[in-house]
Symmetry: C2
Subunit: 211 residues, 2 copies
């Protein structure tokens, strides 16, 4: 044969998904699933043991560290595998976090198997592989840069979603009401809204807040 077979490790907390990817990938002549992991710690261990070429990573891994954090950990290992994110959502925040953590590719789980195979092969060669919808999102946001909300502003948003008034937030955060209002003004500007309700909706949509 022409090449070495590509060694793949799966990281996903859903047994069903692991079985599915394994069944599909193992049926390919040039691809080998050499390990599976259900959480972050297992992932690091399995990668160390099996030295795969590509790591297929789900972003939501249940309770512990998420896929992005796990990607970061794995990429810090000696001779790390390329990480191909395979997940359900293409939220801008998720994509950016994953890429920032060192992922080489981002695919969605509703991708047809053929696309998955192509992506694995590409990732193994060190290419960057993005799902079309993901690529679109990145371009969109590149044009209009994402306003980063500060940690303090996120705290405000959390209280906001709980329906607190400015006075109550001020008490909760041990600051003055004026400060809360100031933060809110900044949040409105950054999120492109001008009401509290709009801010909450946008924050949840942008995954700044979790429902």
């Amino acid at each position: 044969m022409a090449e070495q077979r590509i060694r793949v490790v799966l990281v996903d907390d859903h047994p069903v998904v692991r079985a599915g990817v394994r069944a599909l990938v193992d049926a390919q002549d040039d691809l080998d699933v050499v390990g599976e992991a259900a959480d972050s710690a297992q992932a690091v261990a399995v990668v160390g043991e099996t030295q795969p070429d590509v790591l297929l990573m789900d972003l939501s891994l249940g309770d512990g560290p998420g896929g992005a954090e796990t990607t970061r950990l794995v990429r810090e290992l000696p001779s790390p595998p390329h990480v191909l994110v395979l997940t359900t959502y293409d939220t801008e925040a998720d994509v950016l976090e994953a890429v920032d953590a060192g992922a080489s590719g981002y695919l969605l789980k509703d991708a047809p198997p053929e696309e998955l195979f192509r992506a694995i092969r590409g990732t193994a060669r060190g290419e960057t592989v993005l799902a079309p919808s993901v690529a679109n999102r990145l371009l969109q946001r590149a044009a209009s840069p994402t306003p980063k909300v500060s940690p303090r502003e996120v705290e405000i948003l959390r209280l906001l979603a709980r329906g607190l008034g400015n006075k109550e937030m001020a008490r909760e955060l041990l600051v003055s009401e004026a400060t809360v209002k100031s933060h809110l003004s900044h949040i409105y500007t950054k999120l492109g809204v001008d009401t509290r309700a709009g801010a909450v909706a946008t924050a949840i949509e942008r995954r700044i807040l979790r429902p």
Copy 2:
């Protein structure tokens, strides 16, 4: 052998998940995957052709009708299969909608394979199978009944999430501002909040609004 093998059809828009469930289920002696469908229309067609005992149903099927609606359609067929919902989320609204549509069971995708097999066998026998977390939720909500928001109130919530003021909503809905305020008051009462921001957050959490 003792019994007829149980005929299973999979409905899921993710090829990966279908492959996974198929791999797992087909490996069981007494279970047979006799068909797959990626959307609602396919599901109805495949069920008609294959006459399965159990339908494994994902709730989110991409663009068209969702899993709940599909369940309803399938259950209206002659000699319909029992429907076992296999999905990622255990939101109260999702569970209730599915059960209301005629589902006999509700399992989460992170369930271990053994539990999935048991659930399929139970569902085939006509039993009701609920994931533990789902059962918990149902009990919780049974104690404190869910207030139903009316269609009109949902419209208000949608506009609210877009950050509109009462005056703007009134214009949008072709009613008076007083009416909007009235609706809002009812919404607050039903959702147990007293601010617009809180209403939006609660509505999204309760899946009344989609992010």
